[in-house]
Symmetry: C2
DNA sequence: TCTATATATTAAGATATCATAATATGTTAT
DNA sequence: ATAACATATTATGATATCTTAATATATAGA
């Protein structure tokens, strides 16, 4: 079980912060983000995601594994399919909030040409 | 000026999604996340951040540049210091929301051992 | 101007991530 | 059991990111 004591606005030694950094890392890849966006529309099988995203099966499976580790998605077996869904409704809120922030700061955002 | 038409729950070709992915990338590094958390407590100079985080000056400057590109922080010169601050109050909400999601899914979160 | 201090930038090696391809596992139906 | 399909895993090389060290720029004060 992970230590989840929260240190809201105090920087810590980096241990707990690392968990949140990894959590955000989950959404830091276009393919993963598109998977999450697709799943926000409802449950999907891996092959459906492959077709929708135009990505390879391996790519989708691997990114789904990552999203699962990070707690964004959950899966269940349905016959020969595996259906994935968003594990927490607040993920939608998180994405909407990010969109609003990006939209309102558009003129300042170029995003990390360097580093 | 960046194209910011929003395609809320439709996966796109990856172009717009890429912007959001890069935005989240801003918070996907422990050092950057700690910088953001520190700045949520108020404006700080680079050297203050260096001391608080125990990171090198180069590291902090580089990560601040990244956060600036991503739209998280803004800076102003104050004498020989450069003071950084969070550019949008909703960044706090974003982090709080992430904490809540992580906390409530703790048992599922290991975070990307692979990939 | 010269010096000290603060910050930014750049370069280079180490590490992490990603895409691709190949292979393995699992499920269903014959 | 075998074949066909769906998904997961692993390995490899390419690319991106991070850390460290070195250097450059900027500001303030003597």
């Amino acid at each position: 079980m992970v230590d989840l004591e929260l240190h809201v606005s105090l920087p810590d030694t980096g241990v707990q912060t690392g968990i949140y950094a990894k959590f955000f890392h989950g959404l830091s890849n276009p393919t993963r983000l598109r998977i999450v966006e697709t799943l926000l529309d409802g449950e999907r099988s891996v092959s459906q995601l492959v077709q929708t995203l135009g990505a390879t099966q391996s790519q989708v499976s691997n990114q789904l594994a990552c999203l699962k580790w990070c707690g964004y998605v959950t899966s269940r077996q349905d016959g020969k399919y595996v259906l994935y869904r968003i594990s927490d409704p607040r993920v939608r809120t998180l994405l909407q909030l990010a969109r609003e922030i990006v939209a309102d700061n558009a003129e300042h955002i170029q995003c990390c040409t360097r580093m």
